[in-house]
Amino acid sequence: MKKILSVIIASVSGILILLGYFFKDRSGGLLVLLINWGILLISVAGLIGVGYLLQRHIRRLIQRKKGMFLSILLLLSFLTTLTLGFVFSLESEFFRELILNIQVPVEASLLALLAVVLFTSSTRLIKVRGWTPLSIGFLCSALVFLFLDLDLLKTGSGTLAAELILFIRRLPLAGARGILLGMALGGLIVGLRVLLGMDRPFGEGK
């Protein structure tokens, strides 16, 4: 009974949101009300998530597990940010500068690390995937677009060569759209299956 109830609640709320989306004018504020409830629940879940984070690090600290030092660092930074956030408001220039001056360099260093890892991994593409049409095509297209983006080819506007380069440059966009269309189709079917109660992840098994 409990499982059927959760399926009914999930399906009815989903269908109401869907109807409200298409009939915004006639929904009479129902859509806004349901979305607000959703936002409230997600915010509470966000707080629970922060609880998970703290619980894990506090437990690691108490049990003196490997990585304890990192946990101390995390808990200290969390408490400092939380206290400063309460003392100064989010609109405070000082608070924003302080956070950004830590966050931006960390983000930049992560991006630098990512660039190095991407480069080293790209050299191992053939080793990972073998000489397949996909890997060869991927490598060749990467080289072609790298060359095109260097802007070494100078062509006059309106010429056949310029049109050809423009066409080649548009090809990745077409590929990305194709993948996104397929994913949208997959997403639509997943949503409908949950709405129609065919997929019940919140029940037992599938």
Partner: protein, 249 residues
């Protein structure tokens, strides 16, 4: 005809096809169940890691909902019962990492409900650990990286929404001899992971994971529906191109 009506038509047609195909049930036997070597590789790696006593990590995305990829979070949750079944969570070595509180709460609930009608009280206790490495995309990336550095994970499986930083985690696990699988749905992550992950799902195949991990009749209905819609979509695109070329559109 406006876009709202087009949306309704697509949704109604998909729902109708899904219901019809589901009602046909066993008559769809002619439509064979699909297999994927990548999904089989993941299951094999999970079993190997359990037997070796190594921890496994399933990452379910850094956000539940995003405008660009709205169905990813939901899909990850529908695949979770197959990934976190009783056998997999029994030894307590399975960790589920997410960057969004709502994702983790729902994941925890799914694992907890995974064995409600059974007879063994032991199996009904959830032994999965839920990890939130960080509540934002950046903190999630960095937090998960440090988490992976602390233990020697036997396998990592990526589902849901990520940026290209996903490659850092798979590299961290693979460099210690672990196995990596990815059905991460965003385009940047798929492009980055192509370099490093052998068992990688791309495009709409990401959404067929639940069916590939555990197939049943309902999946046959879904695959048939998806294939019919795909063919219709291809025909509409070709028709659109022809109409554009001939000046009708």
């Amino acid at each position: 005809m406006n876009w709202s009506i087009v949306g309704w038509v697509v949704i109604a047609l998909s729902a109708l096809l899904l219901v019809i195909c589901s009602l046909l049930g066993k008559k769809l036997d002619f439509y064979s169940l699909r297999r994927s070597s990548s999904a089989a590789g993941l299951m094999k790696a999970q079993i190997t890691a359990i037997e070796r006593g190594q921890p496994r990590l399933v990452a379910i995305g850094d956000q539940f909902w995003s405008r660009a990829y709205p169905g990813l979070g939901l899909h990850t949750l529908t695949s979770l019962p197959m990934l976190a079944d009783s056998e997999n969570v029994m030894d307590g070595g399975l960790s589920v990492a997410g960057g969004d509180g709502s994702l983790l709460v729902l994941a925890h609930q799914i694992v907890q409900n995974g064995y409600v009608n059974g007879f063994s009280m032991e199996l009904s206790k959830p032994r999965m650990s839920a990890i939130l490495p960080g509540p934002t995309q950046l903190s999630f990336s960095v937090g998960l990286l440090s988490e992976l550095g602390l233990q020697k994970y036997g396998s990592i499986a990526l589902f849901g929404n990520y940026g290209p930083a996903a490659i850092l985690w798979t590299e961290a696990v693979q460099s210690k001899g672990g196995y990596a699988f990815a059905a991460a749905g965003s385009l940047p992550s798929q492009a980055a992971l192509l370099f490093s992950v052998r068992d990688l799902m791309i495009g709409e195949s990401v959404f067929s994971m639940s069916g590939l991990l555990s197939s049943n009749l309902a999946d046959q209905a879904r695959w048939l529906t998806e294939d019919i819609l795909r063919v219709l979509l291809i025909f509409s695109l070709v028709a659109g191109v022809i109409m554009k070329l001939t000046g009708v559109l």
